[in-house]
């Protein structure tokens, strides 16, 4: 069993959990993910590692309570245990040789982008971070990002925090203002990553995106996480989760991500009723 050591609610729907899993903590790298099950009847869901502490043996995950499983996860308290917690899976973010990087992140994707920015910063790379959210209430990790970024831009759709606009507005301004990046790393909702890639393609800036498709085993066995990259079929769990954003077929990925949307909504509604209206 995998005990919860720390819990924090970061905004209305986003939670942080630190889970005791020493073998995972010992190996985890930015960009990698874990697969967990809340309980014996639970589904296996992938969550990207948000932070890790090999000394304490803990792994941090940050997630949005959007489905039945993430809702159940958000109801757990410190001292509770997860049935399963396996990882780290997938390939780590490639950071070698990077001198100047723009980290573009959106929503709960910021939780995945943060350890990447942190590692790049620690390696002496110049990090420019753009973090986008719907509104001020949704903002997470602002201070953490500022600490590891040479330049930091906060964007909101309605202007209630930071600047009003999309992450692509800020990135375009940076590039057009003469910033030259070795790489752009984009992590967030699929439409956001798609439009970041459209922009960086215009300016020919190499761009990496982190894909988070539907997955079961996370070891290459089910093929459910397949996506098309440069015309070839890839499995996000073993070939990714990071890919060359200019080659990813985002439209197909968005379709595939919606496979169980109706069932998920139904399960979420039942779970909400089950838990009652208090809290979350």
């Amino acid at each position: 069993m995998y005990r919860i050591l720390y819990k924090e609610q970061l905004n209305q729907t986003v939670f942080r959990l630190d889970v005791l899993a020493p073998p995972v903590a010992a190996k985890a790298q930015p960009g990698q993910f874990v697969i967990l099950r809340v309980d014996e009847a639970g589904e296996r869901i992938p969550l990207t590692v948000a932070d890790y502490d090999p000394v304490a043996g803990s792994v941090t995950v940050i997630f949005q309570a959007v489905g039945a499983t993430t809702l159940a996860l958000s109801r757990l308290q410190v001292g509770d245990c997860l049935a399963d917690f396996v990882g780290p899976l997938g390939r780590a973010t490639e950071t070698d040789g990077l001198k100047k990087v723009a980290v573009i992140s959106g929503g709960v994707g910021c939780a995945i982008a943060y350890p990447v920015a942190k590692k790049l910063h620690a390696l002496g790379c110049e990090v420019h971070t753009v973090a986008g959210f719907r509104n001020a209430d949704m903002v997470i990790l602002q201070e953490a990002f500022r600490e590891v970024s040479d330049r930091f831009f906060l964007m909101t759709d309605d202007g209630s925090a930071g600047e009003k606009g999309l992450v692509t507005d800020a990135l375009r301004r940076l590039i057009e203002g003469g910033e030259r990046y070795d790489k752009v790393i984009a992590i967030g909702p699929l439409p956001m990553m798609k439009f970041v890639c459209c922009l960086t393609k215009e300016y020919d800036v190499p761009t990496v995106v982190s894909m988070n498709p539907i997955m079961i085993d996370g070891t290459g066995m089910c093929g459910g996480c397949r996506l098309t990259v440069g015309g070839e079929m890839k499995f996000a769990c073993v070939d990714g989760p990071e890919f060359d954003g200019h080659l990813v077929d985002f439209d197909e990925a968005m379709e595939r991500a919606s496979m169980y949307r109706e069932q998920e909504r139904h399960a979420y509604d039942s779970a909400c009723n089950l838990f009652g209206k208090e809290g979350v």
Partner: protein, 461 residues
């Protein structure tokens, strides 16, 4: 000696069983088992044993069944096989032991598989003695993968006194026996009991451990204190055809479809794993996995399920009994048919499968006649789900993180007949070496590797 008729296997009514996941074949009664056992000629040269990948002394155990000494028969079988309840259900006996049976020359072969199953089930329901924990020799061996190869290897090593740790990537042990083969063909309680027996014999099980990721083979040897490692990670990576439309919603690998149903139990009300319940399904492929996927789809309530296979009935690689059961349940076989494109509907989910009719040409390098497309024979099968059951490739995780481990061109680990690989102290067997094959071949390989691990560790001392 008079040629008597082979005892039929009692099965559940196809029209009833196609609606649930309970076991299809019910097993012989003791009377049937004894009657069937008496058909055996007890041939001195035992051709059947030669056809068994783990060399069970078949005439000896059948003789004991005929004498109603079922427990004695169990002992004979388990001297050679560690999973008789499993193999009695899933072995392709018609191409192995039963294909060599002398009774089969003029009539029907003795139902060796059904007798094996009967004996194992008898033992399970009538014996409550747990195996004694063998005297430990203090040497530690890591077995990676808890499928048939790993279970056989772990069982054999434990019996020889080794302290065995069995690593499993998923949350439940059993490998393909748990995620792949459905409940109606192999009840999961049987697999769980086999694993419980191994644990009673001292095997330590560590689930959620992806060797090749969380721990490397080198770490097992250098840091975790294991003297040898057996790799039995199977052939898990699903293949697709490379035709247009394979990314559409409603297209599954058989592995994903079966894993959702078998491992995650998504057909049950209380499972949190979502499952698409298709109406019209095409399963591409002709092996046991294709039969399993097709019959699962039917049990989820599909109105029409077709098996689409590019060769003819004679070449279907599935067990004869599975094909028979699938037909009884109402699966349509579209033989000499090959998919060329998966078509989207207006919502960009699967709307149809464009196929071409095939004919058999010259034999290929394996002697099977090569299917070639017929001109102007394309047609569209109206389906909302396509399941690809065209085979799997060995998992690359261990290969890519174990330096000096030589692999074959198709990705399988290179190992000799005793399971020795290019790395000292590293052994491998089963589908991870051969590519997708059978439960019994994997078990045989696991057992052989256990013997060479034993020899390797003794030599080192």
């Amino acid at each position: 000696m008079a040629v008597t008729k082979r005892q039929d296997m009692p099965t559940r009514d196809p029209l009833v069983r196609r609606n649930d996941f309970e076991e299809v074949a019910l097993g012989y009664t003791p009377q049937q088992a004894v009657a069937e056992a008496k058909r055996c000629l007890s041939c001195k040269h035992k051709p059947c044993t030669g056809g068994c990948p783990v060399q069970i002394d078949i005439p000896a155990f059948i003789k004991l069944v005929a004498q109603e000494d079922f427990e004695g028969a169990y002992e004979v079988i388990t001297r050679a096989s560690s999973l008789p309840a499993v193999c009695g259900r899933v072995c392709p006996q018609e191409t192995q032991c039963e294909s060599k049976c002398v009774c089969g020359i003029k009539g029907e072969p003795v139902a060796i598989g059904r007798l094996e199953r009967f004996v194992a089930d008898w033992h399970r329901t009538h014996s409550n003695t747990l195996p004694a924990k063998p005297q430990t020799n203090g040497h530690r061996v890591a077995v990676v993968g808890s499928g048939p190869a790993g279970l056989a290897c772990a069982g054999e090593l434990a019996a020889r006194g080794y302290a065995v740790t069995l690593f499993e990537a998923l949350h439940r042990a059993g490998g393909v026996l748990v995620y792949g083969i459905p409940e109606f063909r192999l009840p999961k309680a049987i697999v769980q009991q086999e694993i419980a027996l191994l644990q009673a014999r001292g095997v330590e099980l560590r689930t959620n451990m992806v060797v090749g990721k969380v721990l490397s083979v080198d770490e097992l040897l250098d840091e975790e204190g294991f003297e040898a490692v057996f790799i039995g990670t199977g052939a898990g990576l699903p293949r697709f055809m490379g035709i247009p439309g394979e990314g559409l919603r409603g297209v599954y690998s058989a592995n994903e479809f079966l894993t959702r149903i078998n491992l995650m139990q998504a057909y049950k009300e209380d499972s949190a794993t979502p499952l698409f319940r298709p109406r019209r399904v095409a399963v591409v492929g002709g092996g046991n996995v294709a039969m399993d996927a097709a019959r699962c789809a039917l049990r989820l309530g599909a109105e029409e399920v077709s098996v689409v296979y590019r060769r003819s009935a004679a070449e279907l690689p599935a067990r004869a009994e599975e094909v028979e059961h699938a037909k009884e349940e109402g699966i349509t076989f579209r033989l000499l048919t090959n998919p060329v494109e998966i078509l989207p509907d207006e919502a960009r989910c699967v709307g149809g499968l464009r196929c071409v009719e095939m004919q058999l040409g010259e034999p290929d390098e394996r002697g099977r006649r090569r299917p070639i497309p017929k001109a102007d024979s394309e047609f569209v099968l109206p389906v909302d789900c396509v399941i690809m059951a065209i085979g799997t490739s060995p998992n690359p995780l261990i290969k890519s993180t174990t330096e000096g481990l030589v692999t074959q061109p198709f990705g399988g680990i290179a190992a000799d007949e005793n399971g020795a690989t290019s790395r000292d102290g590293v052994f491998a067997g089963g589908d991870a070496v051969t590519g997708a094959a059978t439960v019994i071949l994997a078990m045989g390989a696991g057992k052989a590797a256990a013997a060479s691990i034993d020899a390797y560790i003794r030599d080192k001392k």
